[in-house]
Amino acid sequence: MRSSRADIEVTTWVTKHVGGDGSGTRLFPEPIQRGDTVRTALRRFTHRFPELDSALWSPDHSELGSHIEVLVNDAVLGVAYDLDTPLVGGERITLLGQFMGG
């Protein structure tokens, strides 16, 4: 039987938006509700962290902004999952700060 939660993993500088120091990883178990998708779970999660909310989403909140990568089960969105893929529980959603530099 699958878990009724997904783990939201916030990494490196993105942790600053959830009370961290900009390093390491913070793991947040997020209960999954019937009909949840990647989008709805993330919306509910970021609603609790206003700074993360504005960093993750576009200004009108319709799409993701361009500065934080979202991975589901270690794969970027657009491969096995996109924002509107239903969650069944047990997924790991990673928020990874965009990397710039060489």
Partner: protein, 636 residues
């Protein structure tokens, strides 16, 4: 020290128009004759070619014909800065080196920082254009109106840090008062991936520009911070623009990481995307390493360190640090950039931070490109593990993570000793010479260029850029505020069509940045902000669309230069290993080869070039006001 040749500049005539933001002159050097002279460049040319790679591309196209290979005296080594250098904008000591490079045999533009650009502008020059070949090892000394080609016999064999220290002792100047860019033994030995290193840790690294300098027998360029006045047209406007850029760097989610830690976060971040190159692309799974120890804060905290900022920079990026333990304890080294951690570390299976940090600086001091060193050394390690290369061939046993062995290999390459002589040709030529299964393990583009220090099988946009670019490295580079030019903020990174469109759409930004005389990290802001700073500095009305047009003009000129050198679409492919499907890790499901030809089709269509010939289409050139180039490219 007596110079071998001295020319004092003739008194300059008053400029017909003000040269706000510019020195207004190029310094020309002919090493064959030892002569130096200056050349004014017009307001119109400044507006059209800006500086840096924009200026360099035009000079390269005009002055280096197809028969002048990288090692020919007629090849030009152009060391150019730009209009923002020396002005109060962060990181404006920028240097762009433009030449015909030794790895690809085509155009090169490669950028570094420190104090070079500011020192050059304060001496009264926007660029140095070097031609000819000296009869004996020389260095170029610049101090305001004095520009001398001096004997460098006493610097022969010194590494780049030793060279800088020797010239500091001679001149009695150091720090921001003296900028030195030099070659080490690898440049003197004409290693095809030799770099030009300066100001302790800054490297113009790509396409063997250090070999070009070595062939010209030019050991160093040494510039005393000059005393010439440099003015912005609208000082208040420039400072406002600079403040806005700095504010964005500090506060924008995507750039604050650069502001705080430079490129250090790349190791952990890229490992999660399957884009950290591990053991020569043989795996993307990390075992036995605690990656929390590789986070930026821990990387920096593990060393006693001091800030080592470039000209006018307020970032917490460049640092000098001290080796804390082991056989090299107490040595001062440059804090590795992300690419140092990858090229001198992960790529060769070395995951102990202290020896990686030490080896990285040793690579810089030898003046070797750390990316290509990683591909060469990793290739040897893998081939020895698999029995494709023998101890007898290489001269000793080299295994993954062997730092002393890697250093020994570096010495062999830098002095072209034994098997190092073959490796000094770069991994493409070396692996083709060895052949067999060994050839299939080497990472390169078919043009011969070195990929940057990533596993591009998880970053297709950079692989496509590296293979299609005309400057010996990437010319579109990371998407940065790409929505500004109408590109999507987010794409599926494994959808070839989306990738190719994005790479084509964002092209131009990098050439614009690399023409301004600053740093690609402090310029991580919207192009409109950079255009605003340029407008305030020069008095021009320069806008985003001008910047995009300028970047694409520069790319077209470099492309035309390469086509003239015989480098076309037939070599726009990754090597077997570079373009392979990962065997594990986050990108293992994705095979770029299946989509490559379609990606090229889409990219060519997006940039307005002809897929078959590789030429920019006539209408593309017309739209860029490059009719003169169209006449050249399409003459019967």
């Amino acid at each position: 020290m007596s110079p071998t040749a001295t020319t004092t500049r003739a008194a300059a005539k008053p400029a017909a128009t003000p040269t706000f933001a510019y020195a207004g002159k190029l310094l020309r050097v002919n090493l064959s004759t030892g002569k130096t002279w200056t050349e004014a460049w017009s307001e119109n040319d400044r507006r059209e070619y800006l500086g840096g790679v924009g200026l360099g591309a035009k000079i390269l196209y005009d002055e280096v014909g197809p028969k002048a290979q990288w090692d020919h005296p007629d090849n030009r080594l152009i060391m150019a800065t730009g209009p923002l250098a020396g002005l109060p904008v962060w990181g404006t000591g920028g240097l762009t080196v433009i030449t015909r490079g030794a790895l690809t045999g085509g155009a090169t533009s490669t950028q570094a920082n420190g104090f070079f650009g500011a020192a050059l502008k304060y001496s009264g020059y926007d660029a140095i254009v070097i031609q000819g070949q000296a009869k004996k090892l020389s260095y170029l000394y610049i101090n305001d109106d004095v520009a001398e080609v001096r004997d460098a016999a006493h610097l022969a064999g010194k590494d780049t840090w030793e060279t800088q220290q020797a010239l500091e002792t001679e001149t009695g100047l150091a720090g921001h008062r003296l900028s030195v860019y030099s070659i080490g033994p690898a440049g003197e030995s004409l290693v095809r991936f030799a770099a030009i290193q300066g100001d302790y840790g800054h490297v113009a690294s790509k396409n063997g520009c250090g070999a070009v300098m070595g062939k010209k027998k030019l050991k160093a360029v040494c510039i005393v911070r000059g005393t010439k006045a440099l003015a912005a047209r609208d000082t208040r406007g420039l400072i406002q623009a600079a403040d806005d850029i700095a504010h964005d760097l500090k506060t924008d989610p995507s750039t604050s990481t650069l502001y705080n830690w430079g490129t250090l976060p790349g190791v952990v971040n890229l490992s999660k995307l399957g884009a950290l190159p591990i053991k020569n692309y043989t795996t993307n799974v990390i075992t036995g390493v605690d990656m929390t120890e590789w986070e930026a804060t821990k990387l920096r905290a593990g060393f006693d360190h001091r800030g080592h900022q470039c000209n006018a920079c307020g970032m917490h990026h460049c640092h000098i640090q001290v080796i804390p333990k082991g056989p090299h304890a107490g040595e001062r080294v440059d804090e590795p950039e992300y690419e140092g951690w990858s090229g001198a570390g992960w790529t060769i299976g070395l995951t102990d931070k202290v020896p990686v940090s030490w080896l990285n600086t040793r690579i810089d001091r030898a003046c070797v490109d750390v990316n290509e060193f990683g591909w060469v050394c990793g290739w040897v390690m893998e081939c020895m593990e698999k029995g494709y290369l023998t101890e007898k061939q290489v001269g000793f046993r080299l295994s993954w993570g062997d730092v002393e062995g890697a250093y020994k290999l570096l010495q062999m390459i830098s002095h072209r000793q034994g098997f190092g002589d073959l490796l000094a040709e770069g991994v493409k030529r070396a692996s083709e010479k060895v052949g067999g299964k060994a050839a299939e393990c080497a990472i390169y583009t078919m043009k011969g260029a070195s990929p940057r220090g990533h596993d591009h099988r998880g970053r297709w946009e950079e692989m496509l850029d590296t293979c299609t670019s005309s400057n010996g490295t990437m010319e579109s580079a990371n998407p940065t505020f790409q929505t500004e030019v109408g590109a999507p903020g987010r794409i599926n990174p494994f959808d070839g069509e989306q990738v190719a469109k994005l790479v084509g759409m964002i092209r131009g930004r990098r050439h614009f940045e690399d023409s301004l005389g600053g740093c690609s990290f402090t310029f991580r802001t919207k192009m409109a902000n950079l255009a605003r700073a340029l407008s305030a500095a020069t008095g021009w009305d320069y806008r985003l669309e001008d910047a995009v047009r300028f970047g694409n003009r520069t790319a077209a000129i470099l492309r035309a230069f390469n086509l003239r050198c015989g480098i076309g679409p037939d070599v726009e492919y990754p090597s077997v290993r570079y373009g392979s499907q990962p065997v594990d890790g986050p990108a293992k499901e994705h095979d770029v080869r299946k989509q490559w030809d379609h990606m090229l089709d889409v990219w060519y269509d997006t940039v307005g070039y002809d897929r078959k010939s590789g030429k920019p289409r006539k209408e593309t050139l017309r739209a860029l006001d490059l009719d003169w180039l169209a006449k050249d490219l399409y003459k019967k």
